[in-house]
Each structure stands twice: as structure tokens, then as C-alpha cells.
Symmetry: C3
Amino acid sequence: MVLKQITHLTSIDNLTKEQINFILDKSKQMLNILNSKKTLNICKGKILACLFFEASTRTRLSFEAAMHRLGGNVIGFADASTSSAKKGESLTDTIKTVQNYADIICIRHPLEGSSKLAAKYCKIPIINAGDGGHEHPTQTLMDLFTIMIKKNTISNLKIGLCGDLKFGRTTHSLLQALALFGNEIICISPEELRMPNEIKDKIQNYGGKIFQTENLNEVINKLDILYITRIQKERFISEKEYLRLKGRYILDKKIMSIAPKNLFIMHPLPRVDEINPEIDNDKRCIYFQQAFFGVPVRMAILEIMLKI
Amino acid sequence: MVLKQITHLTSIDNLTKEQINFILDKSKQMLNILNSKKTLNICKGKILACLFFEASTRTRLSFEAAMHRLGGNVIGFADASTSSAKKGESLTDTIKTVQNYADIICIRHPLEGSSKLAAKYCKIPIINAGDGGHEHPTQTLMDLFTIMIKKNTISNLKIGLCGDLKFGRTTHSLLQALALFGNEIICISPEELRMPNEIKDKIQNYGGKIFQTENLNEVINKLDILYITRIQKERFISEKEYLRLKGRYILDKKIMSIAPKNLFIMHPLPRVDEINPEIDNDKRCIYFQQAFFGVPVRMAILEIMLKI
Amino acid sequence: MVLKQITHLTSIDNLTKEQINFILDKSKQMLNILNSKKTLNICKGKILACLFFEASTRTRLSFEAAMHRLGGNVIGFADASTSSAKKGESLTDTIKTVQNYADIICIRHPLEGSSKLAAKYCKIPIINAGDGGHEHPTQTLMDLFTIMIKKNTISNLKIGLCGDLKFGRTTHSLLQALALFGNEIICISPEELRMPNEIKDKIQNYGGKIFQTENLNEVINKLDILYITRIQKERFISEKEYLRLKGRYILDKKIMSIAPKNLFIMHPLPRVDEINPEIDNDKRCIYFQQAFFGVPVRMAILEIMLKI
């Protein structure tokens, strides 16, 4: 139906509310299949090309796992150095070539807008697996799925986004999706790492409620979900600036002792030191479970976009 | 039959005319299967080892895609840095080891003659996927297949080879195969990058017709196929020399406006700037289709050499 | 039965004699299946994650081959540079994440004890594929299997371990296993590269017999098996020290001419120059066959640990 129209997934903006709901429903089915240890064969003979021009453990491995769990195959590269980019090939030429070898492509590239450009020239479906500091829509879908599973709804919640909201692409896409489903969002960040205005404006245009603060302790008691992100060293120009900001928000036993009982802590991972491992076994800390949900959600997306 | 004797494919010289025809016929069958979206299972349980001591997108990914389309599996490495070569292991030791893990090996290595050396010590079939500036026989087979599909014959054509004919391994193997099938070949290159004499001599020995020129415009009107290649930076010692020669032949809208209606433009890819992307949508430009044909041709080769 | 208790395989110490015998029996069955060219499907839908923080050809490719021969799939990385370790992620976080994507993990990491640490946090089975200069238990199992196939027993033999016995992890695990099965072990090494005392003490505690010498020629005639290892450059701090020691024991035609007829030469590979390739065709040299046995042994381990 509506979903048949998802040709490419380069931005969470590509999706309507109905399409997102459809993906979350399908993800639930995939989760049940995974939990039942049943084997799927629906992607037998199909090929996913994973083109990672930037390193990744989580996203690449979970896409590959998702394709294998569906019975399909994977080709690709894990960093730009083993691709023809080294010989000076343009991204569009790489895409025009690889589309001949696969049925669907997932791409991570350091350049903002790269996956949109790729999609323009590609006759098979493209999934954006991160384009620089820009967007990462499948991360957003697995974040929404995690909230759905834990809170049984993705609407009318109070959700704190905390950390690097300027460069952290995961929070940009997530903010938009959360606003779309009518949640209240509290942006918690140092002034230098605030959510960009163009993203906030977009949200406010369709009625989303956003508040902004620098003080986590002040708001933590009101939250249903606290989504914390890594201060990303690789996006900074100055080491000094990075070091000054990175220790700003740290979750530990002390802060968890004053946090609400029904607050869930999420994180896109990898973390560096913004979450102290001493709280990993706290039932409210669900970031590794969130990582697991990447598999059923990506299975759902692959199945839907391959139109099987 | 005859084909049962293809143990290794290190050079296009390994093949007789009948064997080449047999491979092209089998490739046609594979193309039909791919187009029908049918799933094959004939390599189930088989393993292809892809040993890439030099980076490649196209060749590696299309070999892997071919093996997966046949229902088989792939192991290997995408560059020498993740192999035991780093620990000082010799190529022959790597081969003597990996032959224990796979059913067929495809190898790319910077050293001329490396795959022939590998074949000498290997009890499973070896496919040369490029040995330095030397040969790349599966590229030649997919080039022949492209011509066959587009011109319905691979004989009695006028074919221009243009660009770096000295270092470009793809043109060396292709020249021999084209001569074998009775085509007229026009070599178009700057004096410094001419086709090596030993290759021309070999061809003339079995009656091939070769002409040589530096001027593309002068001959373009007589051609059925123009096969242009990249001036390969990585084969040059001096940056200056490279820069002087690389802009010599550039295909753009202007030159295509005077080119014959039934001329096809081929290129082994990746291109740098020898073909302006403004002509990519011209029906005569078939280089991305040529890349696609790598899959059915490599499927055919894998099936034949695995003797399934 | 007993084997159901193998959760993780981080050290050969994790295994009882019965468990080792069980693995060797199962390996024999796998070898028969491989030789009969039959196709297995018992790991269909299962995923092995190969996490190689250090380069490897042999171990990684044979694990991948083993999983494919069982009908299963593989995800992972071949060196740390394409993983999130680059972003500062801890090993335990990588494990807590990847365990969500796979059914079993095999890990190589430069740090001693890394796989034991990983196992502590991992809810799916972990196999140590080498942790620095420490242990490499599946290598030991394939070494035992090789001896079993060639000598029809793994007890009451005279076995020489020769070369770098200080840093060579393969010999540490092997020594323990050989002692467990009641063999006599002769350690042959320069004084600087002697087997560490803590390992020798451990063995002597359960009644193992060990002798030590610097002189290979003196003892070669008494041996059933000579297991020689590479002097590992990457474990040395000084280039000079490395160069001084690396030429100490070299097997060539001359030494083979005085060696017993029923002596077998083993080597974990890769070799550098401690075995002259001129003796590769000597029937007593079984190191490449030993490499091949990595596949059936790892198939057996995967099947047993996946509890299929």
C-alpha cells in the first residue's frame, strides 16, 4: 500500500506517520520471529550492498545481521580505503556501478547530503546509514521502536535529548520524528552544542513543543525517556574545545539515585564516558537492548523496501 | 567437454576460441536467469576465496555478487593489510593455506605474473583478477560479452582502443582476444603510452590487423566500438608526467555529436575525467551496462571452473 | 552431555580430557563430511561474528569457511580500524553490542586476557582466536587433531616444541594439552625465548614431563613430532634482538636428511624463514595439512558450542 512508495530512505522526512507506524508494526513481527529462533528465507538470493565510507561497528554489523536473518547475502566494504574512491572515482559512479551487483544499498559517507545524491542516480533502493553530521533515519526508527516497546506508545511522552545536539545526527532525525508523534522534547546541551535552529524551526512549524536548558538535574525528574549522546571527537576542530565540553553530562549511580523509577536511559552508542558502566545493570538503562532492536527494525526496512 | 580443461584462468591466452564461445554462451544463460529474478542454488555449500592484495570495488564486488547469485559463499580480504602478508608470509604460502578453505580462488595482486605463480602451487582453480599492469582475463570476457550483446557478433568489427595502452592491463588482454576473433583494431594513444611491442607482435603472428594513431578525431567515424581507458595515476612514477598525459582524450557532448549513431562507448571503469558525465545518458554510452555484465560472465566462469 | 557445559572457549584449560576427546571425535566426523563433498545445513540462519582487532588470514578465514561449510553466515571486521574501537569504544561495550547481532563470537585481540574479559560480559558463546602472546585454544585443538590423524593417538608421544616458546601463544596452550594427555615434551629454544616458568610449573603439577634444550640436532632423532614456530617480529621491542634470534632454528634438506622417517614436522604458520620451502614436498612436512584441519575442527567447535 502506502509503503510501496518508499523507494529510498535518505531522511526520516521521507516517511509519513502511517509509514513509520507500518515499519514499527513490521519490526514487532520480526522481533517475534527472532525471539522464536525461527529461520527466515524471504531474502534468499537477494544481495544487500553495504558501502561504508566511514567506519562503523554497530550500524554495519546490524544491517548485515538483519540481511542474514532474512536469508539474504551481503557484499560491500567497511572503509573507503578498499574501494575505488581511492582511485578518484566519484560517489555517483560508485553507485551507478554497485547498483548492478545488488538489490538494495545501504551507505554511510562523511559528506552531508551524500545519500540523497546517491539516491538521485540509483535505480535500486538506497538506505542512508549516516551522512556526516546530518541524518541517520534507521537509527531514528530503532529509537522509536525501543520507546514503543518500553513505553507502549510513542506519543505524549516527555523526552530529554542530552549532549551534543549540534553535531549528533541521531538526535536531529529523532527530534523530528518525536515531534511528529506529538511528544514534548527537552533539549539539554551546553550552549555551544545546541540543536541547530533550522531543525527546531522545522519542528515548531508543525506544532512540536521544544524546551531548552543546560541543566540536566533540573529537568530529569519530569522525563519519561532520557536520550544521551556522545560528544563526537571526530566532529571537532580543536582538541581543547572537545576536552572542555565532553565531561559536561555524565550519568552515574549518584544521578540515577535521584532519577525517576520509570525513566529509561537511551544512547545510540558508542559511548565514551558520558555513561559510567557502573549503572549498566540498572533496569532503566536500555541502551544495549536498543542496539539489539536495530536488527528487527532493519529486517523490517529491508523487507519493505525490497517489496518482497 | 573442452571446458573441463580450464583449471586456472590466469591469462586470456589460457582459452581457445571454442572455450571463449562456450563461456559467452553460458554467460547469456546466466543473464537470462538474472533478468528473470530466479534464484540459483548450484553453488550451495561452495566457497569462493577473494584475495585482494590491491583495492578494488568493481571486480571484487561483482565476483562476490556472482557467487551469491549462484547460491554460494565468499571469504577473503579486501586489502593486503588485513592478511598475513603483513607478517611476512609469501604469496605461495598464502595460496597453499587458503586452498584448504575454499573451492576456488580469485586473486588480485600488484605483481605481474603473481597469479600464474599462485596457480603453480594451487590444487583448486585460480582466477586472475588483475596482476599489476599485466592481465585481467575476466574483464576481457565481460568486454567481449558486452560487444556480443550489443553488436550480436564479436567478429569483423572495427574497434578502437584509446588512452593508456601501455600500463592498462585491460586493453592488453582485450587486444589479443579481439585479434583472435578477426577484428580490426585501432590503437589510439600518445606515443608515451603505446601498446607494448611484444603484445602487438604476438597478435600479428596470428594474423590480427592493428593500426596505430595519436588522433582520435581522425578515426572515430570508422569505429563500431570505442574502448577508452583511464590514465592510471598509480602506475606513474612522476606526478608531472601523469598530469601532462591525463587530459589527452576526453569524451564529451561535442565529440559525441560528430560520432557515428551506431558507435558504442565502452570503459572498464573507474573513470577519472576521460569521459564527461554529461554524456552518461547517451544511449551509445554503455560502460555501466558493461559493469553489470561482469556478474553473469563471472557466474558463468565460476560455474564452469567449479565443474558443477 | 558433558559438552553442554562449554559456554566459552577462552583457554584450553576450559576443557576436560573428555571434552577434548569429544571435540576430536566430532572433528573426525566433520572431516569425513568435507571429504565426501556433502553439504551441511545445520547452521542455517545462524550468525558467527568474527571480531579481529589484529590481522589474521588463517584463523579468520578458516573460521569463516567452517561456518559457511555448516550452512551459516558470518559478520565482523578484519582489523580494528573499521570498528568502533576507533571512536574510543571499550572492548566490553563492543561485546555487549555485538552479542545482539550474532549467535556466537570469535575474537582476536592484542591484549592478554581480553577474551576472558569479553566472556564475562557476553551472553552468547565466545571463542578466543588469540589474545596477544597468551592463548589460542582452537589452534591447540587443530594441532591435537593433526597429531591424532597422523599418529593415531595423542598420548605417549615424544614431542618437540621449537622456536619462540616465550611469546608464541600456540605453544603455551599446546604444551598444556600435550601434558594432559601424557606426552613427553622437549622444549627447544634459545635461552631468551624459553617457555615461561608459570606454564611449566602448571604442567609439572599434574605430572607432565618436560625437558629443555637449546640444541635441536641433539634431540631430533628421539622425536615423533617436531612443532616449530615463527620468531614473531611484532612481539619484539628491539629490531636488533629480533634479527639476532630469528635465524636460530631453520629446517632444510640437510637437517631433514638426518631426521627420523616417521617424524612429522608441524608449524602453526605463517612461517618466515624457519622452514625452507625446499622441504615442503617431503611427506613428513604436514603444516599445510595441519592448516586444512582447522576447518573440520572449527566446524566441530561451532556445532558443539552452538548446541545444535
